[in-house]
Subunit: 85 residues, 5 copies
């Protein structure tokens, strides 16, 4: 599972039916790479989260029929961007 | 899910049966990496979209028997290539 | 799905039973990265193809019991290595 | 399967139900990339482990309903960070 | 499927039950990246092999209950590290 920071909601009025009414968030990793994830928890911009990908993402969305490949799985209580150093 | 820009349709007369008559689009990410996705929505060159990969891509294609590993899942209303900065 | 160029057949006399008698091709992307794919179409060195990965690759091989994670899904009619520029 | 070093436990009080009460560990590869994995073995910071990803990760967690995409599969007895050189 | 070179066996006395008694090998790609794979064939250090990943890896292990995400699928008869150049 990857550790990513929440940037903003993703506004997207036209999407495939399979995503239903799930909330989408734009996330960024420490190298600046951007991804989109389903948010079943309700996170805010600036939060650090970890995400489940692949088939686990569909189940983590709370409804396995949600057609995501990335879902926020948890909110990290505290995150130092350079752990263990 | 990744955020990609639509470049052009992919013309491909010889393909495996499993892709059926699905429309294919060439997409490019912010670093210039090129990928091919099934388009169940009908997007145009220049649009920014986000994509579902893996087994979710097959379901997102509207017919899980479509043998894709990448499907356009939504059209982003507005996309700034450098979000949150 | 990724866009790759066919380099050569892969000669491999000792393999797991699950690959059966499928034809294997060595492919290379624009950055020089090498991969091996099952070829259900019959492509030639120099051809540009796009590939399906993951579980879609097994189905695209025409027999889902073929234990591949990458299968050639289509032959691209014409490919400019720098699209949309 | 990837070889990673254990950095620290991940403290995370708010998470999706699908992760149940599994222990989470922050891991780092030789290039410094950080990931989060479920730990069904009980490893300590500094240990080198190898991990199973994808659907195998769910089964390796000991309960396939645990919604992880990365699980520690084994503890390496001895690991030289530059093998075979 | 990726092409990798066998480096050495992986000694690992403590592992999850799901890996059973499968033999593990440390592999390295042309860029030096290290991975661990199940070996159902019996390869030796220095051999070049190609590997199946994802769910195909579990089936390629000869017993789909083996919880691997990477399995050696074949031994390459001859491999030039710079093909097609």
């Amino acid at each position: 599972m990857d550790i990513l920071q929440v940037i903003e909601p993703l506004v997207c009025t036209q999407r495939v039916e399979g995503l239903r009414d799930s909330s989408l968030r734009v996330l960024r990793d420490v190298n600046g790479k951007i991804q989109v994830a389903v948010d079943p928890i309700g996170v805010r911009p600036g939060n650090w989260v970890y995400t489940a990908s692949g088939s686990a993402a569909r189940y983590a969305a709370g409804d396995f029929r949600v057609l995501t490949d990335l879902t926020i799985a948890g909110l990290i209580d505290f995150w130092d961007t350079d752990p263990g150093q």
